[in-house]
Amino acid sequence: MKTIIRVMLLAGLAAPATTFAQVPYDRIVKAESEPANWLTYAGSYKSQRYTQLDQINKQNVTQLKPAWVYQLRTGGVFETSPVVVDGVMYMTEPPSTVTAIDVRTGRPLWSWTPKIPDDVIVIGSPPVNRGVAVLDNMVYAGSIAGHLAALDAKSGALRWDVAVDDNKIGYYLTLAPLAIDGKIIVGVSGAENGIRGFVDAYDAKTGKRVWRRHTIPAPGEPGNETWGGKDSWKTGGGSTWLTGSYDPELKLLYWQVGNPGPDWNGDFRQGDNLYTCSVLAINPDDGSLKWTFQFTPHDTHDWDANETVVLFDATINGRSRKLLTQANRNGFYYVLDRATGEFITGTPFVKQTWAEGLDAKGRPITKPGLDPNPEGILVYPSIQGAANWHAPSYSPKTGLFYQTAVEMGTIYYKGEAVYKPGIGFTAGGGRTINGDDAWSAVRALEATTGKLKWEFKLLSAGRSSLLSTAGGLVFGGTEEGNFFALDADTGKPLWDTQLGANIRGIPVSFGVDGKQYVAIAAGFALFVYGLP
């Protein structure tokens, strides 16, 4: 007995200690220097979703085995991108639960669920949550009730909770917040409800709102004239539902703006509808705009521009440039100068039938007659877009931008536009041409030009989020449940396994006790894989 107790004590002492989050802003700025952790939604402020870890590589990826699986207690669409800090994973369960997990065993450490009213309004997406932000000793998460909460990282206890805006008129949150120096930045969903979108900054310690940047200018502000001179700007959408990126050196926050409302009937919002379908470069101190770029003026196909913007530096025409790139829902891949907003190049990355191309300033040269109508009109890309929330990845090692491109068309319908608070304000919709006639491909684009380097075809038009690694791999998942790894240089499939349900999760990688792992949510479970 005595021996057994001694052995247990020794084991206890020898057990690796888990330190709970202690993540000052400076750690997130230098996230790439500690690849065992995944400190923010897209891996770093650059949103490259790239890991420096190379223990799992082209040679040994076939040996991957499940380390543990975490099952949801209830179902739901599971789109989380976990954050991992010093042996603890913080991830979200649908619709708005935050759970901390011991990454060595998969055992939960705490779980917190906000109050969600029975009559919560979630129109425009499933009731999902894509992850948390961590700063200092707090964990931050949004909810479909339209709130932002700050939790104690050790216990999950609520530190503060604010209503970002009124869910009764359609505001809700699905994105992972972004933590910067002393501030928590969030955007909102709800453009299918006739909201007026914004980006908000909250004091990380107190929850007090520091600033709000509306995405649609009010009368008297520049850009309001692009709304047809009526009240359409008040219900013009422009939601901000996916996490932005940040350049701490330029001190610019980049946030993507969604579609105008009503989605498929532009009659009452004649003009470009600024700043919908745009990216905003925001001064994080006061929310003022440094520059803006609009991808799709006067959108009528729900091709919002909320897709992740990826930041990297490269030399173009002999000149070193700070770049911002996006594979946009409208089917074009864009390269901008992120200091100035200057358009550098743009090129289609899928079949698209709506534009002749882009002009010298990046504005699309649209083909006439392709607006939705009551009888329906077939246009590519689809209503769900060539890209969407699913995460792209950029590898500094290959210089390639990896994107799951959706090859699908939609018959678009225009409907009657009637605004009532809290009721869907979409005025139309679409029927996708799916099944055997649609498909997706993981595409590797030369990041500075958008030129296709390779592609790997997926059976159906799924939205595979991607992770690229220093081990020369690209991880992703299919609608049919295949979790796979491709050769990052050639696109050749190197490994796959079947997880038993559609994969909506966003892959991340982390390390603990000297071993690298890859995590991805599929169906109603989170899977973690590592080498034996």
Binding site: E375, E416, G429, G430, G435, T478, P493
Partner: protein, 263 residues
């Protein structure tokens, strides 16, 4: 939840609505027809006569016995079937669609011509039961036809007999998935040189599951295949266009249309 409340609210509004004046009712039906032609006719057929999806020109719809139930389907689709929510509708658009679909149901010219009994005899003598199940009896290579008259319109049934490859069922089953052709014929050659002909049972990016005419299953990794030919537009079922007189064809369609499922 909110969606359900809204649906219920519209349902109540419709139920509470007094009989509309004739002109308004006519306008609603006309408006609904326009919406229906754009969004519904491809599957449910022009005038709701049926096609890939069940005919709607009958007085009682299984999933929509009441207007409230019909509104619910328009707003939400029918889970686990090929019926999607095509798009969100305003209240007046919903009212118009309900008015039109109900007007089609009242036409009651849904009677399918032909002699059901003669058609049943034809079904037996042609050996259809070697590949199809009706009421639990028959072979399993092709689709179960027990409720085919409920699920498909007569025009579709006629085409399926004359030109089976043009009318592969789409996306009713969970496997492979919504929108995919079912019973898709495949010709596969493995890298070892083996050949498999059969129908697709399921497929993903890396593998494919096949059943041949003898009922044997094959599980194949795509990386091991030399050729994977999806014979879109073809069917393992032969065409009966030359083996039936027009009258016999009409009788067979009438028999199939009479198969409305187990009571």
């Amino acid at each position: 939840m909110q969606r359900w409340l809204w649906t219920a609210a519209i349902g109540l509004a419709l139920a509470a609505m007094p009989a509309r004046a004739g002109a308004q009712a006519k306008a609603d039906i006309d408006g609904g027809k326009l919406l229906f032609q754009g969004m519904c006719a491809e599957c449910h057929g022009a005038g709701g006569a049926g096609g890939d999806a069940p005919p709607l020109n009958r007085p009682r719809l299984q999933h929509a016995p009441t207007d409230a139930a019909l509104v619910n389907i328009l707003q939400n689709g029918i889970p686990n079937t090929a019926m999607p929510r095509v798009r969100r509708f305003s209240e007046s658009e919903t009212r118009q669609l309900v008015a039109y679909i109900r007007s089609v149901g009242k036409l009651s010219d849904a009677k399918v011509p032909g002699d059901v009994k003669k058609g049943a005899d034809m079904y037996r003598s042609l050996g259809c039961a070697s590949c199809h199940i009706v009421g639990g009896q028959g072979g399993n290579l092709g689709p179960d036809l027990t409720d085919i008259g409920f699920m498909r319109g007569p025009a579709y049934l006629r085409q399926a007999i004359v030109d089976p490859g043009a009318a592969l069922p789409k996306g009713v089953l969970q496997v492979p998935s919504r929108g995919y052709a079912e019973y898709l014929p495949l010709r596969i050659v493995t890298k070892q040189g083996g050949e498999v002909r059969g129908i697709r049972v399921n497929e993903d990016t890396f593998s494919i599951q096949v059943r041949d005419q003898a009922g044997k299953f094959y599980s194949l990794r795509k990386a091991d295949l030399e050729l994977l030919e999806k014979q879109t537009g073809k069917s393992l079922m032969p065409s009966f266009s030359t083996r039936l007189t027009p009258a016999e064809l009409t009788d067979l369609v009438a028999y199939l249309a009479s198969l409305q499922g187990e009571p």
